[in-house]
């Protein structure tokens, strides 16, 4: 296990290196001078020159990259052009809402997907299974922003159960926090549930006819116990990798959902910064999200290894 962990840790170094190059290039591959892009075509040459110096754009690209990379290592992602605050600080300030939203939608997804998958596998020879498959296919075909609009219309306006915008920090009261995040959380979860439940069902179905389930049935164990204990425990292992996929979906989804529900999180920050052409912030957010994503996938992989005794004891 130690060997596996070390190998896995080492493997993320090249990935992060490539990530940093891509993020760096995103800004520098823009046609023309980034300073013009930021300030607009008709700005004065002095202003351009000043910004170029401020951003280090007058140096060769390779030097710029390593300067930038060096700063990242000490936690310096540069300065916002719009607010002149440190990018790191801006992102940290926006973390709370995004993190809250992701936790809630993740929990909702798991709470719905796992029992659904178990139930479908239990009823696998009935009409419920093809129905479920169609439903899951439909689920992955719905754009989350459209679903959000419909739910806002239904649960926010027609039957006003939930607020349709805003955010209350958890420190200002758990109920208000939950009340504001539940509707956006439902939207995000709704899109993920179909995918996760489908993957869980597939791996459970693979496990349901394995020889060890026959051994368990041969012991006189109840069918429900066979499913919940023997089949589920084995199906869970490959499903952990699905969590990585879900997180990716959620990270993308929060951008849209935060914009619709005006939740002041990282996603909204990104969209605002794009509109403001605040490139240091865009760069910082994209780098940060990619870093989080790589980290979560690392944790998932280690979890996978930990859950599977065949790897844990090797």
């Amino acid at each position: 296990m130690l060997h596996y962990t070390l190998r896995r840790l080492l493997a993320i170094i090249p990935v992060l290196f490539i990530v940093s190059i891509i993020v760096f290039m995103i800004v520098h591959l823009t046609p023309g001078n980034p300073a013009y892009l930021i300030l607009g075509e008709d700005s004065s040459p002095e202003a351009i020159e000043q910004l170029e110096q401020q951003l280090g754009l007058d140096k060769p690209k390779v030097i710029q990259y390593f300067d930038w990379l060096g700063n990242i290592f000490v936690g310096d992602l540069g300065q916002s052009i719009y607010s002149e605050q440190a990018v790191t600080q801006i992102i940290v300030e926006r973390l709370g809402p995004t993190f809250s939203l992701m936790v809630i939608s993740m929990l909702l997804t798991i709470i719905v997907a796992i029992p659904t998958a178990i139930f479908i596998v239990w009823k696998r020879n009935t009409v419920l299974d093809p129905l479920f498959l169609s439903g899951s296919l439909l689920g992955t075909s719905i754009p989350e922003f459209w679903l959000a609009l419909l739910l806002v219309l239904g649960l926010g306006v027609s039957v006003p159960i939930f607020p349709v915008a805003g955010y209350i920090p958890i420190t200002d009261g758990l109920l208000g926090w939950l009340h504001h995040l539940l509707l956006p959380g439902i939207v995000l979860a709704a899109v993920e549930v179909g995918l996760i439940a489908r993957m869980l069902r597939d791996s459970m179905l693979e496990s349901v006819n394995q020889d060890y389930t026959k051994t368990a049935r041969g012991k006189g164990v109840k069918e429900s116990t066979v499913l919940m204990k023997h089949v589920f425990s084995n199906a869970l292992i490959p499903t952990t990798t699905v969590i990585g996929v879900t997180v990716a979906g959620l990270l993308g989804g929060t951008v849209i959902i935060e914009t619709i529900f005006t939740i002041p999180g990282v996603g909204q920050l990104l969209i605002d910064s794009i509109h403001r052409r605040d490139y240091p912030v865009i760069q910082g957010v994209v780098l940060f999200v990619a870093f989080v994503y790589v980290l979560i996938n690392l944790i998932v992989d280690l979890l996978y290894a930990f859950l599977d005794p065949r790897i844990r004891y090797d």
Binding site: N209, T215, G218, K219, G220, H230, P309, Y313
Partner: protein, 341 residues
């Protein structure tokens, strides 16, 4: 104790109904060892799973027959009642020890599950019992091995664990479905030896299923020979091996390598494919592959008839006719061999 009466187990497939077991009857008395032998696809495994009611339903269904265990028909029992019998009165070990243990649970846990499913007792007591069982099946250092995972055991050791699981509730019948097929030859002998020993100690009846007549000869007192879902010959082990009366059994015997044999008998495979169980051949199912088949065999489906007190055969040839045919055939082959030399 266990009586199977005219059992049919059919499987619904998109291509048609597979008559996997097609009218099988036999009786097992306490403490007895019965061997079921046949090629792949002869239905012996479906038969074994039928007794445990472990064939998936659907697609398997039982259009006819009874499986009477201590007077109760297992085919008509509720799932709840069946569960009380499975593992407790009738236990089973499967062909592939590598995949028959759940990889994510400790061996001890899986063994204790077998005990605790049928007996209410404190966990500590179940653990004691589990350690005893592991000792009984010859696993060294059982206290420590309780905490190991299946992948840390060799194939032979896993089969021992599976036997321990089957023994957990001291069953009256142990069904062993090809228990040694997946194991090395030396390990095979050890497992068979172990099964004999535990039968002596626990006194249960054993149904052993194998395609290997060697295994059957070593273990069984009574033998059922199955072909395309039916019993084609049954009798005591001597009847089957020394008074073989069915061409199929004879072919099976000839396909067996014999070290002790002085004759220069060649290793023979049975020619042709096992029959299609959806559209079985007319007449005797074996006639397309039978070296002695006559026109009669294509028309008449022979019934299992008594030859001696315990010996039953489903063949149109009489004992005398069969002996004569065999002799002729062997002469021809010997001549053929001489020519080749």
């Amino acid at each position: 104790m266990l009586e199977v009466k005219n059992l049919k187990a059919h499987i619904d497939t998109p291509d048609g109904v597979v008559k996997a077991v097609d009218g099988v009857s036999f009786i097992i008395k306490p403490g007895e060892t019965v061997g079921i032998v046949g090629e792949s696809g002869s239905g012996k495994s479906v038969l074994a799973h039928s007794i445990m009611q472990l064939n998936p339903k659907p697609p398997t269904f039982y259009p006819q027959g009874e499986i009477l265990f201590e007077g109760r028909n297992l085919l008509q029992l509720q799932e709840k009642e069946l569960r009380k019998i499975r593992g407790n009165d009738i236990a089973m070990i499967f062909q592939d020890p590598m995949s028959s243990l759940n990889p994510v649970f400790k061996v001890g846990e899986q063994l204790m599950e077998a005990i605790l499913t049928h007996h209410h007792m404190p966990k500590s007591k179940a653990k004691q019992r589990a350690i005893e069982l592991l000792k009984d099946v010859g696993i060294p250092d059982p206290e420590k091995r309780m905490n190991a995972y299946p992948h840390q055991f060799s194939g032979g050791m896993r089969q021992r664990v599976l036997i321990a699981i089957a023994l957990a509730c001291n069953p009256k019948i142990l069904i062993a479905d090809e228990p040694t097929t997946a194991l090395d030859v030396t390990i095979q002998a050890q497992i068979l030896e172990l099964m004999k020993n535990i039968q002596e100690k626990y006194g249960m009846a054993i149904i052993i299923i194998s395609h290997d007549l060697g295994v059957i000869a070593q273990m069984a007192e009574k033998v059922l020979v199955m072909y395309s879902g039916r019993i084609v010959e049954k009798g005591n082990v001597e009847d089957i091996f020394f008074h073989t009366s069915m061409p199929y059994t004879w072919s099976l015997l000839r396909s067996l390598p014999r070290i002790d044999s002085e004759s220069r008998e060649r290793l023979l495979n049975i020619e042709g494919q096992p029959p299609n169980l959806i559209h079985p051949p007319s007449g005797c199912n074996f006639h397309p592959r039978c070296p002695f088949a006559t026109e009669q065999c294509k028309l008449i489906d022979p019934e299992l008839t008594k030859r001696s007190s315990n010996h039953f055969v489903a063949c149109l040839l009489s004992e005398v006719e069969f002996k004569e045919a065999k002799r002729l055939m062997e002469n021809v082959e010997q001549e053929g061999d001489l020519k080749h030399v």
